[in-house]
């Protein structure tokens, strides 16, 4: 059936539930779905994690190899994050170079890790100006059940926390763990007709006007934020989202992640 029609019917249902203070899957507004994280799932990768948030499934892999630093940061390691929305994950994804959605997801994931200083990139310098460790995070979405953003951020940080630098393979000494300093966690909420719900499912994401992703670090400070979708938010809504997101992030961090 025409998905625009489906979405209008769905929207109606979700709005009506929202008015009663309910969500379609019975969760509370600020309740996240069940999270599963499994690390070390890909032996060939230097770090990897398989993440599930509800129906959403993805694998994040970290590859690390020596390379040339950027000329403007000769003594700093390189971090490159990419994300692909491959057609395997959803009938709505098409093959080809990443479009704006994938680019945005990858860049926001990257921003959280970079800006929180999660990786001590200075420690990744081998020879200043010539050789540094390059860290590549690649995220493959396997099943789009909504809120890929949080899953991607979670997968990346979980994979990084378990990653080793393959120094032996390149004759650069012994293998050591990747120097990590912080654990950023991303929490996303959407606005559905004025109600703010966290960790949106696919249906909710589709129906929502606006999405806000809040990435906070270990000390509870903000490391990154992104509003997405063409609606608008009031400052009150934003402040509420930020407050709850920071708390949620702390819960997730305590439960699933440690340095």
């Amino acid at each position: 059936m025409n998905k625009e029609i489906v979405s209008i019917i769905q929207k109606d249902q979700l709005y009506n539930l929202m008015l009663k203070g309910e969500r379609v899957d019975g969760r509370a507004f600020d309740e996240t779905r069940e999270i599963k994280i499994e690390t070390g799932v890909i032996e060939k990768a230097e770090g990897s994690a398989r993440v599930e948030i509800g129906d959403t499934k993805l694998i994040a892999g970290v590859k690390i190899s020596p390379g040339t630093p950027f000329p403007d940061t000769p003594d700093v390691g390189v971090l490159i994050t990419s994300l692909e929305l491959i057609p395997l994950a959803s009938p709505e994804f098409e093959s080809g170079p990443p479009r704006e959605n994938a680019v945005e997801l990858a860049r926001v994931t990257d921003r959280g890790i970079r800006e929180s200083g999660a990786i001590d990139l200075k420690k990744l310098c081998i020879i200043e100006g010539e050789k540094v460790w390059m860290v590549f995070i690649d995220i493959h979405v396997l099943d789009d059940g909504g809120n890929i953003m949080d899953a991607a951020a979670l997968g990346s940080i979980a994979a990084l926390l378990t990653a080793t630098m393959p120094a032996e393979r390149y004759g650069l000494g012994e293998d050591t763990p990747l120097p990590m300093r912080d654990i950023p966690v991303s929490v996303t909420a959407v606005d559905i007709g004025g109600g703010i719900v966290f960790d949106p499912s696919l249906e909710e994401e589709r129906v929502a006007n606006t999405k806000l992703t809040v990435i906070s670090n270990q000390e509870g400070a903000l490391a990154g934020m992104q509003k997405s979708g063409n609606g608008s938010l009031s400052p009150d809504q934003i402040n509420h989202m930020v407050e709850v997101a920071c708390k949620k992030a702390q819960d997730i961090r305590e439960k699933f992640l440690e340095i």
């Binding site: 994804f93 006007n209 509870g220 903000l222 509003k227 608008s232 934003i238």
Partner: protein, 333 residues
Amino acid sequence: MTNKPEKFIDENGIRSDGRRANEIRDVKIEVGVLSRADGSCYLEFGKNKVMAAVYGPREVHPRHQQKSNRAIVRYKYNMASFSVEDRKRPGPDRRSIEVSKVSREALEDQIFTEYFPKSAIDVFVEVLQADAGTRTAALNAASVALADAGIPMRSLVSACAVGKVDDTLVLDLNKDEDNYGQADMPIAMTPDGKITLLQMDGHLTEEEFRQGLEMAQEGCRQVYEMQRKALMDHYSKKTEVLSTEVTATEDVKEDAPGEPEDITSAEVTEETKDAEKIDDTNETGDAEETEDTVKVGDVEESEDSGEEVPDTGENADETDGQMDESKEESSNE
């Protein structure tokens, strides 16, 4: 490249470019500067120089992108290769794709897209010189260009960034503050306080975030006044020329002795007045003449904010519907 300054703010609270923490840079806005575009705007925000053009509503190419119930909005943010210190490789990169996406989303909800089914509204913004804050400068210019194109909008969108340097919140980061500062948070909002763009990177505590959001809103309000004034000036200038032509012929009898070349002199004074006005665009205050002239003439399409209000009510409910579909459309990708 310059190196990180030791201090961003001196003991008197003055920043490296002479501003206080809550001051924005000088802004210059020119409306209707391109002849082929339906609407255009040239804007300088400090040393940022951006040009925005709006085309449409027009036919959608490729055809399959068209929506039967509304116009699609497309936004292309592009940086000229000479706009930055080290030549930028021409063409879209991941950054400009993201900037284009969030900027489009910041504007789309303010446009009455349902008035123009099966059509496209294209916004192109060219960053000619970049000096921190290009996405906000681009958005400010785009918003004015949309108004200049006569696209019905719920309101203008104004954007401004707030950031943190030396553990202090500062409005509208300059280049050094952007490069070496602790946080950067661009926001865009409508004059009635709805936030349509919000991004942030760096390090802010929740309290700093709250304060920052308020500072940025104040910055946006200042920008809004300047956008509004630029549009008012531009369109009052147009109608002044028209109305002076009319009044000039009427006044001939009375004024003829004193000023024989009535029409031309009137035109001359108009021109000088206009020249002054352009110079004045930076200051929000002195607008006696302009305010009067604005009342004389028109609010035309130049100011879409107030005029469309009756429609907003009717469309408020539908808006959400539209949002979804566009949401869905974007999840197509």
